[in-house]
């Protein structure tokens, strides 16, 4: 090919490629932008709808009574119940999940790991309504018959949510444990540490931020979870602060779902439900932000 022909072809090619490329780039940009816009508009809408009640200030944020009929929208019992249910579930998930992750990362033979890991991840795939139904028919009955109370209670919520949180805790914790450099482990064993000492003093401390991230992410999921919880925690008429794990409670999600069906359109009550949404969203957003920060920190320290 002669020099000029080459130049010509080059110019032509770049012209065509340039146009198509710019078009595709714009399209991709619009798609990317749409996700931001959707999030933005949802937040803006929920905030706008919630503001009339959020503006009640202390009566809303620190109010102890939630009686929409009498215009009382105190959110404390609901938020407190939400955290009681979330933290309890997380506790169970941590007690089972972290040792499970350690076993998978350190002790399990390859074939067993190949069996356990997909099974654990399959737990994520169970629709929450199915899990909730199972909880209602099996767990709630079991608690009522063997432990006491109505059966529909905090304890049932803990167990169901723990099952839902477990896969995240196990999976992320295991990744974090595996990300600890092999050389640390070898150095520790080389000094005559037992495998258990090595896990306790080297592996877990170095995987700490990942393990913590898995717990906080799990907590975010548990707090935002609706269907399964709704079906097993009983939902008394008025949100209250429970005094035993065998009592039913109402959490943020279940309150919204239950009351949205009979709320009067445009009433303060409706705004109050949106305000609950704002709180829920804020809690989950904060937890997610902490998770992201922890994972970043883990990556940073891991790479040094």
């Amino acid at each position: 090919m002669s020099d000029s022909a080459q130049r010509c072809a080059g110019a032509f090619g770049s012209f065509r490629g340039g146009l198509a490329e710019r078009l595709v780039e714009k399209l991709l940009f619009i798609c990317a932008l749409s996700s931001i816009l959707i999030v933005f508009f949802i937040i803006a809408f929920i905030l706008k709808e919630g503001i009339p009640v959020l503006a009640l200030g202390p009566d809303f944020f620190f109010g102890m009574t939630w009686k929409p009929g009498q215009g009382q929208f105190g959110v404390v019992p609901t938020v407190l119940s939400t955290f009681i249910v979330g933290i309890g579930a997380l506790g169970i998930a941590a007690v089972i999940g972290i040792p499970a992750a350690i076993y998978l990362a350190e002790f399990a033979p390859e074939w067993l790991r190949a069996l356990i890991k997909p099974s654990v991840e399959m737990l994520v795939g169970i629709p929450s309504i199915v899990l909730g139904f199972f909880g209602l028919m099996v767990l709630v009955v079991f608690i009522r018959d063997n432990i006491g109370g109505w059966g529909e209670c905090i304890l049932a919520g803990w167990v169901i949510l723990a099952v839902m949180t477990l896969p995240h805790v196990i999976s992320i914790s295991e990744d974090a444990l595996r990300a600890v450099p092999r050389t640390y482990k070898e150095a520790s064993l080389g000094l005559g540490a037992t495998p258990l000492q090595t896990i306790r003093k080297i592996l877990v401390p170095n995987a700490r931020s990942g393990i913590l991230a898995s717990l906080i992410l799990g907590m975010g999921n548990a707090i935002g979870e609706t269907m399964a919880v709704l079906m097993v925690i009983g939902n008394p008429n008025i949100p209250w602060i429970p005094s035993s794990v065998l009592e039913p409670v109402r959490v943020l999600t279940s309150t919204i779902v239950i009351e949205i069906s009979y709320v009067v359109w445009g009433s303060t009550h409706q705004h109050a439900l949106f305000a609950l949404g704002v709180i829920l969203f804020s809690i989950v957003a904060v937890l997610n932000a902490i998770t992201t920060a922890l994972i970043r920190k883990g990556i940073r320290t891991g790479c040094r």
Partner: protein, 250 residues
């Protein structure tokens, strides 16, 4: 006096199909530096890790005997924890734990139940022996990862010394270091052999010639030749040893 003796030591990887080390017989003297040389994949590191039973971490199978002070460490009765306490190891990449200098050195004594009041002395002595004390004595609580590669490697040596071993295994300890740091480590090795038996894997033949008393040449999992370093480098008996040290392959 012989400190380590192997009799028909073989190591197999995988399902016992891949042979990493073939029937090695060798006698390693106490208070000497023994260098293991040979091309990559020749079994030097496998041999080294057979001496403190680190191969089993990767599921390798070991046959034959490794006698340390006359006792076979593979006889099933030897406690691997006690064994690794007696045989320290320093790795290719400096691998201090991501904690303070002090905690790094104190790690070994602590896991072996050393009380806190004695730790300060142990840490100081170990760092002195590893020729690191003067550089870090005012920075003991700083994170070890903030130090240079050479300092980190000497820290790893101090960490190994802190559990008071009899033998120290070095797996290419200088391959990640600059020439100045390498020189310091080599100097240190010569000092350490007064008290310890040292086995060192190295890719650097000058290093083997400079620091070691005896040299073993490995090829394809076999021990080809073993003798005094001067003899190996000046009058190798085996053609393959000669080819390797004169740089014709490897």
């Amino acid at each position: 006096m012989s400190k380590i003796e192997t009799i028909g030591l073989s190591v197999y990887y995988g399902d016992g199909t891949v042979c990493g080390l073939k029937a090695v017989n060798i006698t390693i003297e106490a208070n000497k530096i023994t260098a293991l040389i040979g091309p990559s994949g020749c079994g030097k590191t496998t041999f080294l890790r057979a001496l403190n039973r680190m191969n089993e971490l990767k599921g390798a199978q070991t046959k034959g005997k490794v006698l340390i002070d006359g006792i076979d460490i593979y006889n099933g009765k030897v406690d691997v924890i006690q064994l690794r306490k007696r045989i320290g190891m320093v790795f290719q990449q400096p691998n201090p734990f991501p904690m303070s200098i002090y905690d790094n050195v104190a790690y070994g004594p602590r896991i072996h139940g050393q009380r806190n009041e004695n730790l300060g002395t142990i840490v100081e002595e170990s760092l002195k022996k590893a020729a690191l004390w003067d550089e870090v004595k005012d920075r003991l609580d700083e994170n070890a990862l903030g130090f240079s590669g050479g300092q980190q490697q000497r820290l790893c040596i101090a960490r190994a010394l802190a559990v008071n071993p009899e033998i120290i295994l070095f797996d290419e300890p200088c391959s990640a270091l600059d020439p100045v740091s390498t020189a310091r480590i080599e100097e240190l090795l010569t000092e350490l052999k007064q008290e310890y038996t040292i086995v060192i894997v190295t890719h650097n033949m000058q290093q083997a010639a400079r620091v070691s008393d005896c040299t073993a040449f490995f090829l394809m999992g076999e021990l080809i030749e073993y003798g005094k370093t001067s003899q190996i480098f000046e009058r190798p008996k085996d053609k393959r040893t000669e080819d390797y040290i004169t740089g014709r392959f490897g």
